[in-house]
């Protein structure tokens, strides 16, 4: 087998680097592309999340056996419990893929700020969660006889998902180091993400029941504040979480 020679770069490493912002965004984009491409092939993560989400909705549907008005009242709670459970499944799987074949080391070896790894993983987790939510909403509408196509509700789902994924990706990176990661993630995640879930349930409920915007706005503001806080904290501590 004849192999062409590889010319070794003589330029000092620091001078090889492109502008930091470009490298940072390129790394985020590369991780997002990698996760989407791998999932497009395997469909392991999305199918698991989706089946689980649909089962949760079905279980609630049969367990509650409520009349129309009572169903209206519990809709936002059932929705967010479904999203949270399915999301945990996705977060665990997303990080387990990196850990099982030590691919996380491959990411950590890259000459980029490690927060780029966090943002890349968080964006792909958000994409998976939004896909599941986009499928769950119409199914829920049919099963529960409730129209969920409300612009306000969709905005709340987006904000809630961002907060959930922001803290979930960080905690999944922490939990994946442990042998009991499947159990550990929900134990760590649910108490921390509770403010996001409560705000999301209240705001969703407000939109579905036609409450005044003045009553809903405090919950939306709270969601935005939590999203910003969780993203900022994750940005600052991700490096310490993934390092030995």
């Amino acid at each position: 087998m004849s192999r062409p020679p590889l010319a070794r770069t003589a330029v000092p490493p620091a001078e090889q680097t492109r502008p930091a912002a470009g490298s940072y965004l390129r790394a985020i984009g590369a991780i997002l592309w990698k996760d989407l491409a791998a999932e497009f092939r395997s469909r392991e993560l999305l199918s698991g999340m989706l089946v689980f989400a649909l089962l949760v909705i079905l279980v609630f549907n049969f367990a509650l056996e409520l009349d129309f008005s009572a169903r209206q009242a519990v809709t936002s709670g059932v929705l967010w419990v479904t999203f949270a459970f399915a999301g945990t499944l996705g977060l665990n799987r997303s990080m387990a893929v990196e850990k099982d074949r030590s691919c996380l080391d491959g990411l950590l070896l890259a000459p980029v700020d490690r927060s780029a790894i966090y943002f890349g993983k968080a964006l792909s987790n958000l994409a998976f969660m939004l896909v599941v939510e986009a499928i769950v909403l119409p199914v829920y509408s049919v099963l529960y006889g409730t129209s969920l196509f409300n612009a306000g509700l969709i905005g709340v789902i987006l904000l809630g998902s961002v907060g959930y994924v922001a803290v979930g990706t960080l905690l999944a990176a922490m939990a994946v180091q442990a042998r009991t990661r499947d159990v550990l993630l929900p134990i760590l995640l649910f108490p921390v993400v509770l403010p996001v879930l409560v705000s999301a349930v209240k705001a969703s409920s407000g939109f579905l029941q036609g409450a005044a915007m003045g009553d809903i706005l405090p919950w939306i503001n709270l969601l935005i504040v939590y999203d910003v806080i969780f993203i900022a904290v994750a940005f600052m501590v991700f490096d310490f979480v993934v390092e030995e």
Partner: protein, 234 residues
């Protein structure tokens, strides 16, 4: 190229590395040999910036770890027991992904060159999960040299390979190390590193117990040198 001074690594109360000193000149190929549990992988993970030292100084290509880790990582290629590849991506997609992380210039041309080098050009569009262990390890070397690093770290790359795959990997290791690169390779298989390295360092009880360039062995048995070093370290 690599300087390590008084390196200590503790896990809780247990010290795995105990004041280790180590130096590698540019272009040298150093085999770091030692028994299981000697701290070889821990040491290599510190050199790779994957683990922080508890104490001591580590400098690679003039950059200090962990303070200048990002600059060090530009100079490093790492191959470990695991190939660090994604099974659901093809060979070229894996290289493209890592090439983007390293901001490699002329990436597509570089991928072609690397796939030729590791002998996987014909399998470039196959999913990595369909590859044998030997092929995955060859692609892992391709991943490690993709950004053309000056320093290569190999952590027991022969683990789990059959004889033919080991021989093919040795040929590839000679090719990639024979281009002026500095190489540190850990192993507990003396026969495997005997023909590859230009220097042998024995790691035992958390320090370099003995060091000898190939020329200094002068036909002496590497196994005897290794056993003597372990006895003296005990």
């Amino acid at each position: 190229m690599i300087q390590v001074r008084k390196l200590v690594k503790r896990f809780g109360m247990k010290a795995v590395l105990r004041g280790l000193d180590f130096e590698v000149a540019e272009g040298e190929f150093v085999a770091l040999i030692g028994p299981n549990g000697a701290g070889k992988t821990t040491f290599l993970r510190i050199l790779a910036s994957l683990s922080r030292p508890s104490l001591g100084e580590v400098t690679i290509a003039g950059y200090r770890l962990p303070a200048e880790a990002a600059a060090v990582r530009h100079s490093l290629g790492v191959v470990s027991h695991q190939p660090l590849l994604y099974g659901d991506l093809t060979a070229e997609e894996n290289l493209r992904f890592y090439g983007r992380l390293y901001s490699v210039d002329g990436l597509e041309r570089r991928i072609d060159t690397v796939l030729e080098t590791v002998g996987l050009a014909a399998r470039r569009r196959d999913l990595v999960r369909t590859f044998s262990r030997g092929m995955q390890q060859r692609l892992a070397i391709g991943r490690a040299i993709l950004h053309d690093p000056g320093v290569l770290l190999f952590d027991e790359p022969h683990t789990g390979l059959d004889q033919d795959a080991c021989d093919m990997l040795d040929g590839l290791l000679r090719t990639v190390s024979g281009q002026g690169r500095t190489v540190v390779m850990t192993s507990h298989d003396l026969a495997r590193v005997e023909d590859l390295a230009s220097r042998f360092d024995v790691l035992a009880r958390g320090v370099i117990a003995a060091s000898a360039p190939r020329a200094a062995l002068q036909g002496a048995n590497l196994l005897d040198f290794y056993r003597r070093a372990l006895t003296e370290a005990a």
